[in-house]
């Protein structure tokens, strides 16, 4: 299936975009969104491969990833709120009390 490569390429590009986003963005929520993008890129890979290989393991995996991502989102946003409560900012420039 020559299309597999296209799927994989797309997901690789998505993953890279996500990565670059994490590296360059300063807003914690946006960074988290970029991470979500990375995870979804992986999901895409899984799905494509699952289809290509003809077994369901990949798809099952994706369900787990989605669940986990949701849990992570919940926890992550909670942490951001806690941080925001104290610092009134979720800009990662301000997250540097701990260093050196």
């Amino acid at each position: 299936m020559e299309n597999l490569n296209s799927y994989l390429t797309v997901s690789a590009i998505l993953f890279s975009i996500g990565t670059i986003g994490v590296l360059t963005r300063k807003n914690a929520i946006v960074i988290f969104m970029c991470i979500e993008l990375m995870l979804n890129a992986v999901n895409l890979t899984f799905i494509a491969l699952s289809r290509y290989l003809g077994n369901l393991d990949g798809q099952v995996f994706v369900f787990f990833v989605m669940t986990v991502a949701a849990a992570e989102a919940a926890v992550g946003l909670a942490l951001m709120i806690a941080f925001y409560n104290n610092k009134e900012s979720i800009d990662v420039e301000d997250v540097n009390m701990l260093k050196w």
């Binding site: 994490v22 590296l23 360059t24 963005r25 990662v92 420039e93 997250v95 540097n96 260093k99 050196w100």
Partner: protein, 669 residues
Amino acid sequence: MFDNVWLIPLFPLLGFLINGLLGKKIKNETVIGGIGAFAVLCSFAVSCMTILKLLSLPGEERLANVKVFTWMTCGNFNADIAFLIDPLSCVMIMIVTGVGFLIHIYSIGYMHGEEGFYRFFAYLNLFMFSMLLLVLGNNLLLMFVGWEGVGLCSYLLIGYYFHKKSAGDAGKKAFVMNRVGDFGFLLGAFTLYWFMGHNFNVWTIQFTELGKNAHLLPTGGVVTVITLCFFLGATGKSAQIPLYTWLPDAMEGPTPVSALIHAATMVTAGVYMIGRMNFLFIRSPETLMVIAVIGACTALFAATIGTAQNDIKRVLAYSTVSQLGYMFLAMGSGAFAAGIFHLMTHAFFKACLFLGSGAVIHSMHHALHHVHSHDDAQDMRNMGGLKSKMPLTFLTFLLATIAIAGIPGFSGFFSKDEILWQAFANPHHGQLNYLLWGMGAVAAGLTAFYMFRLVFMTFFGECRITPKAKDHLHESPMVIVIPLIVLAGLSVVGGYIGIPKLLGDLFGGIPNYFEHYLEPVFRLSEEYMAEHAAHGVAHHSVALEWGLMGTSVVIALIGIGIAFALYVVNTSIPAKFTATFPALHRAVYNKWYIDELYDYVFVNPCKALGRFLWKGFDVVVVDGVVNGVAKVVMSFGGIIRYMQSGFVYDYSWSMAFGVVVILGYYLFK
């Protein structure tokens, strides 16, 4: 036969232990002094018995090794505490205990009232012990024990007045100089032991064994190295060039010490050692020449310095150095018996001279002390005219001076003349002999000059001491005077046991008893020398020998005459002379600046090097590297630490970087 010989060193050791440990409690000077002197007397008695026993034996049997216990064994190395009895060691123990006993007696009077009286006697006894070990030890190592032991006692006794800085310095200098010599001694011993063992499978350090196997040794080569090493040891102990400078300084010690250690006994150890190992030294003509030259040079050189010193003991000290030079000249000429003979006569007259000077100083000191004067009690310029104040001292002193000056009929004449003749006539050094003789003769003249200068300045002329103190000058007590008389007597008659053949023939064939007595020790060497003489045995006419003898006597008389002229008849000449040649006088007076030279060449560079190595190398380089590594690591820590910026994106960059590098490396490698 000689089973009780170990008693000889034991008595002084006991004396040392008693006085050293309990002396402080005993306090009573008579008891302490008595113990010290008695211990030596006992040794003397046993020594007498020993030598009598020895003399009762036929010549070739006069040799015994007496083992006490095994000291250390390790593999093929074995060292015993064992004593060697032969004519040489017997004559040495007689000198050591005999003169030593007299000096002990003398010290009781001389040291009266000193703070560390017990300490003094303890040290003296320890010295006797070490010296006896040195001369009795039957192996190199035991000799070395004594060798170092006497060095230690010398150090302790020179530094007896330890609160004086000069005394401490002098003691240390003596010890260190001696150590330089010991370095040579050790190396010589190592080389000898290794060479004999390695090449001939004779692993021994025992003198008799070594002597028996000496025929295996080659001539020259390694033997020269070995003997030169040993000779270095001898120059240290016996104050020869280049290691003589400690002896004049050693006069910081109490006068009996100077008499015993720095005149009669310890400083002659080097001569004894060469005599003991004659079988070795004759196998190296080169070394013999070195010894002869050094001996002659020292004799002359020290004599020149002696002419300009004003400190009575220093004059005697340089005289000692000079006389030791004679002994080495004899040894270097292969005339071992003559050297030992001079050793003995020198012990008599030089001990007498030192003790006499001690009596003078003692008296001067008391007189000056009485009037609270701070004048130097040892400076001859403060003396003069003591003849009448201290007649007995004067008389004994004069006799000893005549002896040392080499006036015929006195002991010094016989021994010195024998040496000069041997220096001239020996078969080893060829043309050099004339020079050696010449130096010896000039030195003899200088000796006569400075010794009589000393006598004249001290005992003749005006009394230059503070007038007030004059009345307090008086003759010393009998305990001091009696040893002087005995020693003076020996200085006069001591020479008659070794009358040179020439004179002996004149008086009806009196043999040279002394040479004959020592023959068993040196016979093999003499035979060897006769065979191997480098320049053939020259036959000199009797007339020549008479001529030389006469010449040296004349030279000595000239020396005395000059001294008389300068210091009795016209006392202003020396000052004029000094004024005319200030540089020369200054140089001589300052001992040719040898001490300064040594400071400049050895002492200061060593200190500077030490300081550099410490502050420069240890602290800067080694610790610098160590601490530098630590610092570099720490500063890396500082740098890496700041990479930890606290910003999340920097952290994710780092991670992404890691991922990219890893993937890149593996996928594109």
